[in-house]
């Protein structure tokens, strides 16, 4: 009889039970250690990949003698960023504020419009195509009108950022609102809930995973939107954002600084994303599979 005793909480098998973490019989001091270990584990792999990517890039660029004006080395980029640090920071600051406004507008209008559409199929059918037009019509085509109607600079840029980041929120929210479990809808229906109550107390909470998925897409797109906005409707000069900086670096053939700006934009996008990610964890971790610890 080959019996094998397994001591508690020492089994290494894959744990599907998201309800448990490392087991609460473990003592407190060990818990703190665990948290440190976990943080380390979650920070370490991306860090290693980062090192590999950046190191590899640097090495390949050096080895193959890739010209910096074609593809600058990481060191070139860092140097360019350091040399222009104060300019870069001003640009980043400008872009951040534009992107934030654009994103907030997207969130508010996207969710509100989705709710309106979800409440009435007829409205959805009539209005939704225009939302798609808003997303598909090339910004360059309507940029002049935006500039003329809303004035160049911040206004136009925020509107362009909004136009670019708004649709993913609208679309995802709408699908989420339409995905509510039939049993729960029946529950609210039978308890005589008004449409508004059903939306607020049932359909929006149930759609949260979808809404958050939309936010995750939109948040970094709002950065792109701000940059595109600066590019096509921006004001030049001292307070130009990253879009302006990129154009200038591009015409001046300062490839390394161009990359520094581009990567700043990417970092901005990632920071926005991580913030939304935190929000998502906070909203969903207690009840939705997508954010449960495991």
């Amino acid at each position: 009889m080959a019996k094998q005793w397994v001591p508690a909480a020492a089994d290494s098998g894959r744990r599907l039970d998201t309800k448990t973490n490392s087991g609460s019989s473990v003592r407190n001091s060990q818990k703190t250690e665990n948290i440190l270990l976990k943080t380390f584990r979650s920070v370490f792999p991306p860090f290693v990949v980062f090192l590999i990517v950046v190191g590899g890039w640097e090495l390949v660029a050096r080895a193959a003698d890739i010209k910096p004006y074609l593809l600058p080395k990481p060191t070139d980029i860092v140097k360019a960023a350091a040399d222009n640090w104060s300019n870069l920071m001003v640009s980043v600051g400008t872009t951040v504020s534009e992107a934030v406004f654009g994103f907030l507008a997207s969130v508010v209008l996207g969710v509100v419009l989705a709710v309106l559409l979800a409440m009435n199929k007829m409205i959805e059918k009539s209005v939704y195509p225009y939302a798609i037009i808003l997303q598909t019509i090339p910004i360059v085509a309507i940029a002049p009108i935006i500039v003329i109607w809303f004035g160049a600079g911040l206004n136009a840029i925020v509107i362009i950022s909004f136009l670019i980041s708004f649709f993913p929120i609208l679309s995802n929210t709408l699908i989420g609102l339409n995905s509510t479990d039939q049993n729960m809808k029946n529950l609210f229906y039978l308890y005589n809930a008004t449409k508004l109550q059903t939306i607020i107390r049932l359909r929006i909470p149930a759609a949260l995973p979808y809404i958050v998925a939309g936010l995750k897409i939109s948040c970094s797109m709002s950065v792109i939107g701000a940059i595109v906005g600066e590019y096509i409707a921006g004001i030049g000069g001292g307070k130009g954002g990253l879009g302006y900086a990129i154009t200038v670096a591009s015409t001046r053939l300062q490839t390394a600084y161009l990359f520094a700006c581009g990567l700043s934009a990417a970092v901005l996008g990632i920071v926005f994303f991580l913030l939304i990610n935190q929000l998502s964890k906070w909203l969903l971790s207690s009840w939705h599979e997508s954010e449960m610890r495991n």
């Binding site: 010209k67 910096p68 004006y69 074609l70 360059v140 940029a143 002049p144 009108i145 500039v147 003329i148 160049a152 600066e230 590019y231 096509i232 409707a233 921006g234 004001i235 030049g236 000069g237 130009g240 302006y244 154009t247 200038v248 670096a249 591009s250 015409t251 001046r252 053939l253 300062q254 490839t255």
Partner: protein, 314 residues
């Protein structure tokens, strides 16, 4: 008219008999237009072929950087403004200017006739749409103390200009006045060259490396291109038809207007004496100094390395 020849540099060579034979590509700085007339003429009339060059002309576009494409070796020859070449060299891109299409740069500012702008001195308080980072604007700003001018990003649209007579737009003397006339808008044109900033326009260039290795190909290219411009001068109507094939949306009138406007800018000045495409050290030095003064260049470059005039023997 697209596609790049990856192996074209390899195939360049000089067989016995002294005649070159090479497959080469030229990247222009925009979609095919009259301003590129000389190059297309050389292609159409077979001057490149006669010189032993199997030539492909690739039109540029808004974000297609001829300097980077040539620097990467995907093309042998490219087209850019003189100030761009200086900037490129400062940023480590070893380009050499070979041939200046325009003695007088066609770039300038379009202004409404009733705005009463006769010189950059009158620009105070206006909104000016210029490409972000444009060299001439840095010069004008400094030379005419235009810090109170509202600078806007130019992205190719003229709509803001049409909407407001206080708006000033960047443009080409060969193009925008014609378009505005078609829209029944009365405009004046301030040519940058008239106000002190005159980089050679549509300069054809190659890399230092290519020049060193394939001097004969370069020579053949420059000579054929010069012949092309001479041919274009007399026969621009037929060449324009070829250009129209590349850019079907160009009207004949527009091309004709451009051709007629550009001739003095190409063939007057030093070109009269030294031939079309000629470049002088003084002009390059003036430009380099202007750019250094405005901060576009960190330090004065040695302009003798920037261009070569050894193919102009007249």
């Amino acid at each position: 008219a697209c596609g790049n020849n990856n192996n074209s540099a390899v195939s360049a060579g000089t067989p016995e008999g002294g005649k070159v034979s090479a497959k080469v590509t030229t990247v222009t700085n925009w979609f095919a237009q009259a301003e590129h007339g000389g190059v297309y003429a050389a292609l159409e009339e077979g001057f490149y072929k006669d010189a032993g060059l199997d030539m492909t002309i690739t039109p540029g576009g808004p974000q297609i950087s001829a300097t980077q494409i040539v620097a990467s070796g995907k093309a042998e020859f490219g087209m850019a403004q003189a100030d761009e070449i200086l900037l490129a060299r400062q940023n480590g891109i070893p380009l050499v200017a070979l041939f200046a299409s325009f003695q007088t740069n066609p770039q300038g500012l379009v202004v409404h006739k009733d705005a009463g702008i006769a010189s950059p001195d009158n620009l105070h308080g206006k909104s000016v749409y210029v490409s972000s980072g444009a060299g001439y604007w840095e010069y004008l700003k400094k030379a005419y103390s235009l810090s109170d001018v509202k600078q806007m990003a130019y992205t190719g649209s003229a709509a803001p200009f049409l909407a407001d007579s206080n708006v000033v737009l960047q443009g080409y003397v060969t193009s925008e006045p014609f378009e505005m006339k078609n829209q029944n808008v009365d405009v004046d044109f301030l040519l940058n060259a008239d106000f002190g900033y005159n980089p050679y326009g549509n300069v054809l260039f190659t890399t230092e490396d290519y020049l060193k290795k394939h001097g004969d190909v370069v020579k053949a290219f420059v000579e054929a291109t010069a012949k092309g411009f001479e041919a274009y001068k007399t026969d621009y109507k037929t060449i324009n038809e070829a250009i129209q094939k590349e850019s079907p949306d160009m009207t004949t009138e527009k091309l004709t207007y451009a051709s007629e406007t550009m001739m003095p800018l190409v063939f007057d000045g030093d070109a009269k004496e030294h031939g079309v495409g000629y470049m002088s050290k003084e002009r390059w030095e003036t430009l380099a100094k202007q750019m250094t003064d405005t901060g576009l260049l960190d330090k004065m470059p040695d302009v003798s390395e920037v261009y070569t005039d050894e193919y102009f023997t007249k």
